[in-house]
Symmetry: C2
Subunit: 160 residues, 2 copies
DNA sequence: AAAATACGTCAGCTTTATTGACGCATTTTT
DNA sequence: AAAAATGCGTCAATAAAGCTGACGTATTTT
């Protein structure tokens, strides 16, 4: 037993070695994803504060523009949040005139969601800096490389 | 002027066409990043609820393990949050024995942060499912392709 | 000796999310 | 036709995570 071991060395042990790519753990890419996403969302965040909206509003505006006529249930599944979380955000967007609801033509219980012109403009304004960032990250990349990156990102998704 | 235009057509106009890759806006990659990150963080989230911790704790544990001896100021800059946001999270991790502080040897105002053995184990447990997901997304990819993806992710960061 | 720095903390607030329950209109099943 | 299920909105209570601003202490720099 080592002498000079101040109380409970085993339990209070401090590790000074950096945790690096080791075993099968890829810390490098984990970190790259963190930083990439952190900066990726920082662009629209700056625009959103001006309108008094947040990230959640952004997501809703984005997906409703991408797929007009989607239902509330569709949106909940896409965002993977609860109905109650969506409620306030959606209400604000409707009240502000960015999104409107229409009763479903076949199933009238459904509320189909559509962007207004203002809603489309907002979606475009938010996407613009993100898209510029993506273009910058792809700078000089071949079409094949771009496809590889997309394939990687698709592979990161949980297959439904 | 069109007849049969119910009140204010221009202002309440509903857009039914999906917003697609158009002009210079790359909606496809924007969405891929959203879904990739959403699922990427869902893995550790499930582990964290068991310990009563959240995503913020994860980030702190991760970076302190990656760079033992980092200061509180380093961490704030990396995470891009405020001191007060970090305070509660860091305190909980210290109180729970995952992280410890040591006064800086040169500058004793600094608090250098180190993981304990438990803190390292937690970081590894959280990284494991994320790393498996990354490996799956890279399946069959050449070394060159992997490098391309990393280059893309680095390019997404705001240059400091 | 004075100023600046690194850190912790107090107090109050906002946003975003959660769970659970209920009500209404409508559609599907029995 | 009646009963059950579905899509949606809402109420109430709560939690996690972030924010701003201000101040105190120890320490280092000027």
């Amino acid at each position: 037993m080592p002498r000079q071991t101040s109380q409970n060395a085993a339990k209070t042990e401090l590790l000074e070695t950096p945790l690096q790519n080791a075993g099968s753990i890829d810390f490098e890419v984990i970190e790259l994803l963190f930083f990439a996403y952190r900066d990726f969302v920082s662009d629209p965040d700056q625009i959103l504060v001006k309108s008094g909206f947040g990230r959640a509003h952004h997501r809703v505006v984005h997906f409703v523009n991408r797929e007009p006529g989607m239902t509330v249930a569709n949106l909940l599944e896409t965002l993977q949040i609860t109905k109650q979380s969506l409620a306030r955000v959606l209400k604000q967007l409707i009240d502000s005139g960015y999104i409107r609801q229409v009763a479903g033509p076949e199933d009238r219980r459904q509320r189909k969601l559509y962007p207004t012109r203002a809603g489309r403009d907002l979606a475009l304004a938010l996407a613009e800096p993100q898209s510029r960032r993506i273009e910058r990250a792809f700078e000089g990349a071949s079409e094949a490389t771009r496809e590889s990156v997309k394939r990687f990102l698709r592979g990161m998704q949980t297959e439904k």
